[in-house]
């Protein structure tokens, strides 16, 4: 199964009831899979698939389906994600759950269709207007892409917040076995949605909105959002780590890039080099906790090397998390090439970091 198909299948298994999207490479297999399987496996869920007229329409359809209380999702790739930002901001402002998948490609502008990780800032900083955050999850394998879809829908419902699943063209296109090992988190958690629009039979009317004109009302609402974000930051940091106990050099990478780094770690470990790896799985909230471990005096000899398919985006978060107490180096490029294992090893050796 390809990563795109695994995301789609994961979404269906996780109870996705509504999907709308506009075709864009390299996530077209995802929309095609949903077109085929959402109606065919509709069952009692009344699953709906719509090929929208634009990414704008797609994200706003997700807004509508979510307002109506359904598990709703859209997917795209970088240029399409720029168009979706309006809707994501409204979804965050109306506190609606939604899952948005971005299989990143090269930018800016039309860029190209090669894999990239250049939408890190857009995803983790909000992306649209206003003070908000989306939860951002970054799978690095086909199997993890499948499993994270459950988490994505569960977190979206739990916090009534948009969740972005951030992959890249490589993950979307590559095929890998999907063993569906039952991850304990890979089951549907049902959250009650008393706020949903269902028709006001037997209750007062519900209103979904993000508009607060009364003096002080918006600030009050924003403070409530900030409280929620704090709670998410406390509870939802996720990462994978290898060899941190004795590592002197720690690679930091997410998604596909982390796979290249894992090869480097395996390779250099065999040669006796004390090297480790941190792979953030949640990009927002960023797994600061793992870096906070290394800000004490005794850890000052640790060095971090951040590897990205972009020109230095996640490295900012690593630096902030290290609070200036550890040396943080960077290697990365995007636009077609990806940093290779050889290149990373060369950097480690030449810099002697």
């Amino acid at each position: 199964m390809t990563g795109n198909e695994a995301v789609a299948e994961g979404a269906i298994q996780a109870g996705c009831q509504f999907y709308a999207a506009y075709p864009i490479t390299p996530q077209n297999e995802l929309i095609a899979y949903m077109a085929k399987h959402m109606p065919a496996r509709s069952g009692q869920l009344n699953r709906v698939f719509i090929q929208a007229e634009s990414e704008l329409a797609a994200i706003n359809m997700v807004f509508g389906a979510s307002a109506a209380g359904k598990r709703a999702m859209t997917s795209s790739s970088s240029p399409g994600m720029s168009l979706k930002q309006e809707g994501i901001s409204y979804i965050a402002g109306a506190e609606l759950p939604a899952v948005i998948v971005n299989m990143m490609r090269g930018g800016p502008g039309l860029g190209n269709i090669a894999p990239a990780q250049s939408d890190y800032f857009q995803a983790t900083r909000g992306g649209g207007h206003g003070d908000y955050h989306s939860i951002v999850l970054a799978p690095s394998s086909v199997e993890e892409a499948y499993n994270l879809m459950f988490l994505a829908f569960n977190l979206a419902d739990k916090y009534r917040n948009p969740v972005i699943v951030l992959g890249d063209g490589t993950l979307g296109q590559m095929m890998e076995p999907l063993k569906k090992v039952r991850n304990p988190e890979s089951k549907i958690q049902n959250y009650k949605k008393p706020w949903a629009l269902t028709g006001c039979k037997g209750r007062k009317p519900n209103v979904i909105k993000s508009f607060y004109m009364k003096e002080g009302a918006l600030e009050e609402f924003n403070l409530k959002l900030q409280k929620k974000y704090k709670e998410i930051e406390e509870n939802e940091q996720r990462w994978e780590e290898s060899f941190l106990d004795d590592a002197e050099i720690i690679l930091v990478a997410y998604g596909t890039m982390a796979r290249v780094c894992r090869d480097v770690v395996d390779n250099l470990r065999e040669k006796g080099k004390k090297i480790g790896l941190v792979r953030p799985i949640s990009l927002w909230p960023f797994p600061k906790k793992v870096f906070h471990r290394f800000t004490g005096k005794a850890d000052q000899r640790k060095r971090f090397l951040v590897v990205e398919m972009s020109y230095g985006q996640m490295v900012d978060d690593v630096r902030l998390s290290c609070c200036g107490k550890a040396k943080v180096e960077f290697i990365g490029h995007s636009g077609g090439g990806i940093p290779t294992g050889e290149e990373i090893i060369r950097k480690i050796n030449e810099k002697n970091i």
């Binding site: 063209g169 590559m174 095929m175 890998e176 290249v260 894992r262 290779t340 294992g341």
Partner: protein, 180 residues
């Protein structure tokens, strides 16, 4: 065991399918496997290639920087990807479409994939002839498992495809066995 393969040719050569059958076959043997296509705007006629990794251990990067085996279906893809073949790797190229002398620091085997397929009566199975040559040349996969994959992949109502592909696979194996 870790085998990294690049398969390259023109659009329409069945490059992606060849890689997929290979990957599925490895999966049947309980191996770890990744298949990664180079995706582009071209559908027919342009260049096409994919990368397959078969391993006993968890696979890190799905990118094949240096391949253990290169399967090249035409001259253009041969010259493009030859530099990415490891020293002493296996180079299988389609001698029906590649003219001139081929040199590389590799185990070079020029075999008539297209010619063999034409003899079988369907030019489209040249990719499966190449696959047969690969499994005979590298012995990392069992023929039985490949045949099962072909059977599973054949669309309903096109069962005659299974037979010609079986023949193509055996012919590919035969090409290697005749050489050695």
């Amino acid at each position: 065991m870790r085998e990294k393969i690049i398969i390259a040719g023109a659009g329409g050569h069945g490059i992606m399918l060849l890689g997929k059958i290979l990957a599925q076959g490895a999966l049947r043997e309980g191996r770890e496997v990744t298949w990664l296509p180079a995706y582009g705007a071209e559908v027919r006629g342009g260049s096409a290639y994919c990368m397959v990794i078969i391993s006993d251990r968890k696979i890190g990067s799905p990118y094949v920087e240096k391949a253990d085996t290169l399967i090249a279906m035409n001259g253009l893809s041969l010259s493009r990807f030859k530099p990415r073949l490891k020293e002493n790797g296996l180079l299988l190229f389609n001698s029906s479409l590649v003219t001139g002398k081929v040199s590389a620091k590799a185990r070079i085997m020029g075999l008539p994939f297209t010619g063999t397929a034409l003899k079988l009566g369907n030019v489209k199975v040249a990719n499966v002839v190449a696959l047969g040559a690969f499994i005979a040349g590298k012995k990392v996969l069992d023929k039985k498992n490949i045949l099962r994959v072909i059977k599973d992949m054949a669309p309903q109502g096109k069962k005659d495809l299974i037979e010609i592909n079986r023949k193509a696979l055996c012919a590919g194996i035969g090409l290697i066995n005749d050489k050695s």
